[in-house]
Amino acid sequence: MPAVLTVDPRSGVPIYMQIVEQVKRSVALGVLVGGEQLPTVKQLALDLTVNPNTVARAYRELERDQIIDTAVGRGSFVRGNGAATSSSAAAGDVVSRALAQAVREAKSVGLQPEQIRSLFEAALTRWFRENA
């Protein structure tokens, strides 16, 4: 599992947010499945060479977003008996974020909602035509 995570400390994105994003992404992609154990805070901090309080904060955020559960003394686990439920929730999260980013870009160059909608429809159609 630690092999899946990498952080870029020089990025302007806080490290705890990078960890949260990557765990969510791994869950969405099924790389992490329900019931799987995450490394301890100390272990992940040492693996990534980042501050342990930063890792602890990432785990707290993941708990709050109901991606993982932490049992005192036992460790942190990916939530869900059925891996599918938590996975689709996390997938929705990742995709919403990417879409929000695209909408922001479109808005910033002065496009109106209808124009953005038709661009999205066109992209969707094109992608499925070319990749189906």
Binding site: R10, A45, T49, N51, P52, N53
Partner: protein, 300 residues
């Protein structure tokens, strides 16, 4: 242990090395002290430890002044090696064992191994990096609750630098409090959860690294015409710099980036975007606000 530095001032004759510095180091945190050369980092460390007498101000450890008992639980790595040239690594460890009740011989041996240090070698025969490594070994071998590390990676190769960072992380994960300085901002960005930037003896900036990063942004927009009245944003307390290059306006902000981006849009800017800043950008803004100045518009 938490550490509170309260209104610390240190003057050497007419020169004020540290000027009314107040810093809170939370228990169990890794605190990075940054600043250009001569900003007062080393003097601050010395005053904290009572190695230099402050002109005024105090440092409290868990709310109390430093006592002999508390000193036993504090490890210090000095910027300039505090080692004796004629003594070997083993003799230094022996001295440490006699001075510090919690000295851990097994741990000391492991750490000497980690840095491939030969305990028989006299300090005079050690490279700068190996001297730093020996100082780090001496510090971590006394099982301290507080580590005060002045440039603990200086002169070390990347592998040994990483080893020192992992020791700091391991200590913090075990609930110890670490204060360290480094010229390598990337190291501080990784390992510290709180920072303070000193500039000419004063605190130019301090806070939790994640909060500083989350707040500090550049908000940029392109206006239809050259002359734009920026009164609405230039006076905002969160805007630390306004740059105007032709039709492009860039605001350096410490918070409220979404709101300020909307303001720019409302003022007619197109292509408004928000750019993340890393710790190096934040540091440079704090110590040299004009470092990338392009037609800087003075704040009102």
């Amino acid at each position: 242990m938490s550490i509170s530095i309260e209104h610390l001032t240190k003057r050497y004759g007419r020169f004020t090395a540290v000027d009314d510095v107040s810093i809170e180091v939370p228990d169990g945190s890794v605190f990075g002290l940054l600043g250009p050369n001569g900003a007062g980092k080393t003097t601050t460390f010395k005053c904290m430890l009572g190695l230099a007498a402050p002109t005024s101000g105090t440092t409290l450890f868990d709310g109390a002044p430093l006592t002999r008992a508390a000193f036993q639980r504090i490890a210090y790595v000095a910027e300039r090696s505090a080692l004796y040239e004629w003594m070997s690594g083993r003799e230094h460890l022996e001295m440490q064992r006699k001075t510090f009740a919690r000295f851990d011989a097994k741990r000391a041996a492991e750490l000497m191994e980690l840095f491939s240090l030969d305990p028989r070698k006299r300090v005079r025969r050690l490279s700068k990096g190996m001297r730093t490594a020996l100082s780090v070994v001496l510090a971590f071998a006394i099982d301290p609750d507080i580590l005060i590390l002045d440039e603990p990676t200086s002169g070390l190769d990347p592998l040994n630098q990483r080893a020192v960072l992992k020791l700091i992380i391991d200590a913090a994960a075990s609930g110890k409090t670490v204060v360290f300085s480094s010229h390598q901002i990337g190291q501080v960005e990784r390992t510290a959860d709180h920072i303070a930037v000193l500039k000419a003896g004063k605190v130019a900036l301090s806070g939790a690294v994640d909060d500083l990063k989350a707040g500090a942004k550049i908000v940029e927009g392109v206006f239809p015409a050259d002359a734009v009245a920026l009164n609405g944003v230039a006076t905002d307390a969160r805007v630390s710099r306004v740059e105007q290059t032709g039709r492009i306006v860039r605001l350096t902000v410490s918070g409220g980036s979404d709101e300020l981006a909307q303001k720019l849009s409302a003022m007619g800017a197109q292509g408004v975007r928000i750019v993340d800043l890393n710790l190096e950008d934040i540091f440079l803004n704090a110590v040299d606000p004009l470092h990338q100045s392009v037609d800087v518009v003075e704040r009102a």
